[in-house]
Symmetry: C2
């Protein structure tokens, strides 16, 4: 995939540093590079501004060097964790950015649904594979998913993160975890009031999210699924649906 190396990266937004709100790196100061475009269209996608082609005008084709300089500017040149998200960042040519950052001591985490495998996954520090449960209305291609694990060769710290809205999602999460017993599992109560792309201040049902969180905690403890970690989206609790914080 050396052809990726000189390609441009389609960027929806670059922001931070702020703390990571989800999953294995929760609480860690992070700069976020959110790429534009996704091969999925989840019913409850909370990043539509980085997915829907209606917002394509807001995306910028940037060179690796320009993305890198923006990360350096935001972090004041002090190495930190960079989160590559989307959309699906796996469909962007990010290998060169990772190499560039590593040379300066930065670290890279990538979150993807696992539909597209890239050889540069092996260069990541953290790989968050987030297969989408039935409520998303997407179908998981487990062979593509397996390929993501294969290309990463066990080099990055790799975890499963699964959004759970209901019983069917929970059953899906159990099955996914059983399929990959070697991967730590993070469960995340779904946000049924995701942000409309145009409205930072749209109402968000925090109580509803918290209720789903409590339900999920009750589920894992009743089922004695003691390896699963249950974490809400901290940034949603802190900032609601606002972008860029």
């Amino acid at each position: 995939m050396t052809s990726d190396r000189s390609a441009e990266i389609r960027v929806s937004e670059i922001f931070g540093p702020t703390i990571q709100g989800e999953g294995v790196l929760i609480g860690l100061p992070t700069v976020f590079v959110r790429t534009g475009g996704c091969d999925y269209r989840c019913s409850w996608c909370d990043s539509l501004h980085a997915v829907d082609s209606r917002y394509r005008d807001e995306w910028k084709a940037m060179s690796t060097e320009d993305v890198w300089q923006e990360v350096v500017r935001l972090s004041g040149g002090e190495p930190l964790m960079v989160s590559l998200s989307g959309g699906n960042p796996a469909i962007q040519p990010l290998g060169e950015l990772i190499d560039r950052g590593h040379r300066q001591g930065y670290r890279f985490a990538l979150e993807t649904q696992g539909s597209v495998a890239r050889d540069w996954f092996a260069d990541l520090d953290v790989l968050v594979l987030s297969p989408k449960p039935p409520s998303s209305a997407m179908e998981t291609d487990w062979q593509a998913f397996d390929a993501c694990l294969r290309v990463s060769e066990g080099r990055p710290q790799t975890v499963l993160k699964i959004v759970v809205f209901d019983e069917a999602d929970y059953a899906y999460a159990r099955a996914a975890a059983a399929r990959y017993p070697q991967l730590p599992v993070y469960l995340q109560p779904g946000n049924h009031t995701p942000p409309p792309p145009d409205d930072d201040d749209a109402a968000i049902d925090i109580d509803g999210i918290m209720e789903r969180m409590l339900w999920l905690v009750a589920k894992v403890t009743e089922d004695r699924w003691f390896e699963a970690r249950v974490l809400p989206q901290l940034h949603v609790l802190l900032w609601g649906n606002k972008r860029g914080v």
Copy 2:
């Protein structure tokens, strides 16, 4: 310290499984063994029912075997993480409990202020050292603290967790982190409305805690302290000050 081995454990409460609300194990299903008694008396202690001798009548002297059987009962015999907290659990004879649980595949995390070192710290899976900042009105004995690290011999996963209320606490946290550059640091915004021991439903100022959380996130990002993780007490957000959840 073999004399510890047959001694009784002073227990304030044993409860769970519920998720760990703080620090490095946040989100993980856990059974909590909270011991009674503490050599500190922090101004904002949120576990006074396990500290103040007025509540001593509620504490129970239990044999290791009885504590262990209660952990097994609560977890249905399915191995999980056991959190040893207090009060200061370091002043209780817990080495035998850890051995007992390890033989069945259970894991043990201990949280202590670091004022008392025990040889059995080396047998823990996770050691959370939580030195108390100036707002606690306690004085840190760094030699005792160093001894905790020495006895644990780098065997458990060891982290620093520091509660931060204000600028002075933040400066203390920075200094502590600089003293132990090898230890991951977790910062936690303080709860200035800790529960009175007798009242589960006492008002709690969630907005105030969240405001302190945002302030703390701003501090670490402005100071480019990118290794520090900032996490609120999730159980307080979920359940307020209620005990036993």
